[in-house]
Symmetry: C2
Subunit: 140 residues, 2 copies
Amino acid sequence: MDADRPPASEVTDAELAVLKALWRRRRATIRELTDELYPGGGASHYATVQKLLERLESKGCVGRRRHRRVNVYRPRVDRRTLIARRLQATADRLCDGSLAPLLSHLVGAADARQLSDRDLAALRALVGRLEEDGAGGEGR
Amino acid sequence: MDADRPPASEVTDAELAVLKALWRRRRATIRELTDELYPGGGASHYATVQKLLERLESKGCVGRRRHRRVNVYRPRVDRRTLIARRLQATADRLCDGSLAPLLSHLVGAADARQLSDRDLAALRALVGRLEEDGAGGEGR
DNA sequence: GGATCGTAAGACAGCCTGTCTGAGATGTCA
DNA sequence: TGACATCTCAGACAGGCTGTCTTACGATCC
């Protein structure tokens, strides 16, 4: 019983640009996206966006609904989901599926002050939660 | 004298298999790698490994030295470097370059006990350090 | 009825990836 | 010396992916 998660072959750069625009607006037509991504673009740019959306749809990243004869697209995955997929893919490729080495590296990067103050605050909050869990039972 | 780090276009699957074999042995000839990766493989597999090594070299991932007329290859990047590159690439694509969201996700995945005790300890230590530093200001 | 806008299907070139071929240099051994 | 094996180097090649673009067609509106 897999929650049909097609291995989601990576989202490409151009596709990602469309998806990001869709994240900003929560829904949009091809026309709206074309106007945003290719200001002053013509029919061919329109078709490009159309094709990218078609591929995003086949990857399960966007959905569409007809509204007055026009397709209205909306995202079906959010940024965090894409991050999670990519991190897991990285772990699978490089660490036999374990996420720990990735975390280990990021902790090192934090040392090198690659994190903003805001990032650090978020991290402190997360670790605070983690410490509570750690102190509590480890039943689950 | 630019530390010309070519953005290191991603290492592909087949290339990674060669690189992993090179990580295990610390150096190896094409012949040795071919025997390991394509047991009983013929001349064409030999050439495949050779081509993959050539591309890895152009990506700065392996180096070679002639030893008695034969090229001996050795890795020039380790697993952690590749992890770092990939995490940064993910951050660039999805998080405007910030590593924090990645860390955030991993910490979330962490209390699913994917982390070793050592990782947790490192994380706590990091936070401890951050709390100390946090009070004082830093250069940037 | 014609202009305008949207959909749908697919053609296309360029790149990447993995595989493979061939030519040439060098070393070994009978 | 000459046959043979082994290695290097250069490059061909097909298949897939990516981004772009063309065309055909249907609906809508004045």
